[in-house]
């Protein structure tokens, strides 16, 4: 009578916090669902495979989960390079994969290009970087220009493909909207000395420094920016600055930095605050965005299976495509390339500023605003 459990495969880089949060967020959701009786009367079980940040290990993790463990669904993924490398192996195994960490648009672009082969791929945890860029553009035109009246911008980003893809688009769109881009430069992800870059930004006459960072060391940038009291405020896409302990890690030197976020401890939906409490209660730390993404993805899968009424892959895919449910970051809906939709009422992009004492204040969009923008203290 007891049916075998539904097997969820978690692929995540266990060495880093974002990876461990994928595991722990998913575990939290699995346990909650099991406590309420499981899905279709079946319990959920979870297997973890460490995908590290190396494509080779990432691929073998996928193979282990699909060929060895024969999981029903894959949830996880953090580095875009690894996730991209895994894709063909996922699709060959015909296993549904909900990716939660990787932001490259190329991941889901494949679904549209060749639906039959790639229909197994979904992105349910993060917004893709194109959404981020559009959000950033909105922040620059709507807030920085519209509300603060800034005109001259410097854009600096790490030298990575996704940034290189974004940069021309961002630059052109901003110029089209009448903003002046006085400097646009990329730097090596391994850079530890930002002094020359910061000097150049200062000399360029920029009024604001827009950053695009995920793997580079945001911490050092913040510190060196503060140490030299660079008279240009900054903000943008800064993945590490999403960490709850970022402010403390840099000794408060990120004061006044603004970073895109999609999860903060705020009532984004009815699920947000309960999730934060449950996660902190269990793991004694605040979750980062991947924790929320993995948690939501487990629920999304459970929801789809319930609606499909069976585990059949194609049925579940169809159900996922029509998903519409509240999640910790807002509301989950997917577009035709199986990608998370962004926007007001859905998963929204929040521009969050670090303020005195490590408080996080949403400064944009206007409707979500929880406080006023402040300038770096040396610019008052």
């Amino acid at each position: 009578q007891a049916q075998p459990p539904i097997k969820i495969g978690i692929n995540a880089p266990i060495q880093v916090q974002v990876g461990r949060d994928i595991r722990d967020g998913a575990q939290l959701a699995v346990d909650e669902i099991n406590a309420k009786g499981g899905v279709l009367g079946r319990q959920l079980s979870m297997v973890v495979a460490d995908e590290t940040e190396d494509p080779e290990k990432g691929i073998s993790a996928i193979k282990k989960l699909t060929a060895d463990e024969k999981v029903d669904v894959l949830i996880g993924g953090y580095t875009s390079g690894v996730t991209l490398a895994q894709l063909p192996h996922i699709t060959r195994a015909k296993t549904i994969a909900l990716t939660v960490g990787a932001a490259s648009p190329a991941i889901t672009a494949k679904v549209k290009q060749n639906y039959d082969t790639n229909k197994y791929i979904f992105r349910t945890g993060v917004l893709n970087s194109l959404h981020l860029a559009n959000g950033l553009l909105g922040y620059m035109t709507g807030f920085l220009h519209g509300e603060l009246g800034l005109k001259k911008f410097a854009i600096v980003g790490e030298s990575a493909k996704w940034v290189q893809d974004l940069l021309p688009y961002l630059k052109k769109s901003a110029q089209d909207k009448g903003l002046e881009i006085v400097m646009a430069e990329t730097f090596d992800t391994g850079t530890t000395n930002f002094s020359p870059l910061l000097s150049k930004v200062k000399n360029s006459g920029a009024e604001y420094m827009v950053v695009i960072l995920s793997h580079a060391s945001s911490d050092i940038l913040a510190k060196q920016w503060y140490d030299a009291r660079v008279p240009v405020p900054y903000g943008g896409i800064d993945v590490k600055s999403q960490d709850t302990d970022f402010f403390e890690r840099v000794g408060g030197k990120s004061l006044s930095e603004v970073a895109i976020n999609f999860i903060v401890r705020a009532p984004l939906s009815e699920r947000t605050l309960p999730f934060f409490e449950a996660f902190e209660g269990r793991y004694k730390r605040e979750p980062v965005y991947t924790g929320a993404g993995a948690y939501d993805s487990v629920y999304a899968y459970a929801d789809a299976v319930t609606r499909a009424g069976k585990l059949d892959t194609d049925a579940v895919i169809k159900a996922l495509e029509t998903i519409d449910m509240p999640v910790t970051t807002g509301r989950m809906q997917l577009d035709e390339s199986h990608d998370l939709k962004a926007g007001a009422g859905l998963v929204n992009l929040l521009f969050v500023q670090w303020q005195e004492g490590g408080k996080r204040v949403i400064v944009w969009p206007k409707e979500a605003r929880t406080g006023d923008y402040v300038k770096p203290q040396w610019m008052n």
């Binding site: 990329t186 391994g190 850079t191 000395n193 000097s199 140490d227 040396w378």
Partner: protein, 284 residues
């Protein structure tokens, strides 16, 4: 212009402190001590532990961190390197494994993200139109003082003479009555101390994370090759050269080319002057 001058000097200072110890061990013990990157990391992490976790005064914490790292260096020489010294490859493997162990241990204990090592000074200074953090300037001063001290130690003391002899022929040094094993231990401890000093000084404004060890090692490598294995003056010269080359490229071209520039310099040096700028003929 002043910006290049100032920022280049700070970068060079860190590089020099990082590399002198490495080149010393290369030249004297004729081994490639890949654990060197770990010493740099330990300097910063020990400071964090002593100053932040144990709440010692910063100066005391810094001194303790350097001493502790030097002790680790001595122990590495005594227990890991010495038994393997007859094989270069074994030394490289065992020190690399040590680097990995340290990196992973730090990762497990402190997590993968950057930690905040406290700075001695938190003020901005303006030199010309260059704005620079006080800790950076202090690092520059510290490098000058410590390198001078090292130079005096080598040139003027008996320990220096022993180091020179050892670098040429350890067996012959034994015939002179030089306690070879003890001297090796001292050299590695000294070298670890210098790397730790670099970590203590730069930790507050450069990355202090488990990932800091490997790039530090690579940089030390690069400098030592350009300068010439075992040549202290060459090491300092190369540190200045690379520090400025990177700064200039970052200013004039883009920061994404800095690494390529320093690696290119390495390759060029090796091809044109295999023994480095100040390397001895057939140093090995």
């Amino acid at each position: 212009m002043t910006e290049i001058l100032v920022h280049g000097a700070v970068t060079s200072a860190i590089y020099a402190m990082l590399a002198v110890g490495f080149t010393l061990v290369c030249g004297v013990a004729r081994i490639l001590n890949l654990a060197h990157g770990a010493f740099y990391m330990l300097g910063a992490y020990f400071t964090y532990v002593f100053a932040v976790l144990l709440g010692l005064p910063l100066l005391l914490a810094a001194v303790a961190a350097i001493a502790a790292t030097a002790a680790v260096g001595w122990a590495v020489e005594r227990w890991l390197i010495r038994p393997q010294r007859d094989s270069n490859m074994a030394v490289m493997m065992v020190t690399m494994a040590f680097l990995l162990v340290m990196e992973q241990a730090v990762l497990v204990v402190f997590g993968s993200e950057v930690i905040n090592v406290p700075a001695f000074v938190d003020r901005k200074f303006s030199l010309g139109n260059a704005d620079i953090g006080g800790q950076q300037l202090l690092t520059l001063a510290m490098a000058v003082v410590s390198l001078l001290a090292l130079w005096l130690l080598i040139q003027r003391t008996r320990m220096g003479a022993a180091i020179l002899a050892l670098s040429q022929d350890p067996l012959a040094a034994q015939y002179m009555g030089i306690p070879v094993n003890r001297a090796y231990g001292m050299v590695v401890a000294l070298s670890a101390g210098f790397a730790a000093l670099a970590g203590v000084m730069a930790g507050p404004f450069l990355s202090t994370s488990p990932q800091m060890a490997l790039p530090a090692l690579t940089k030390a490598f690069a400098i030592v090759i350009v300068g010439g294995l075992g040549s202290l003056s060459g090491g300092v010269l190369a540190a200045v050269l690379l520090g400025y080359a990177e700064t200039i490229v970052a200013f004039l071209v883009s920061s994404s080319w800095t690494e390529v520039v320093s690696l290119g310099a390495v390759l060029l040096t090796l091809l044109l002057r295999p023994a480095g700028l100040r390397g001895k003929r057939a140093a090995f």
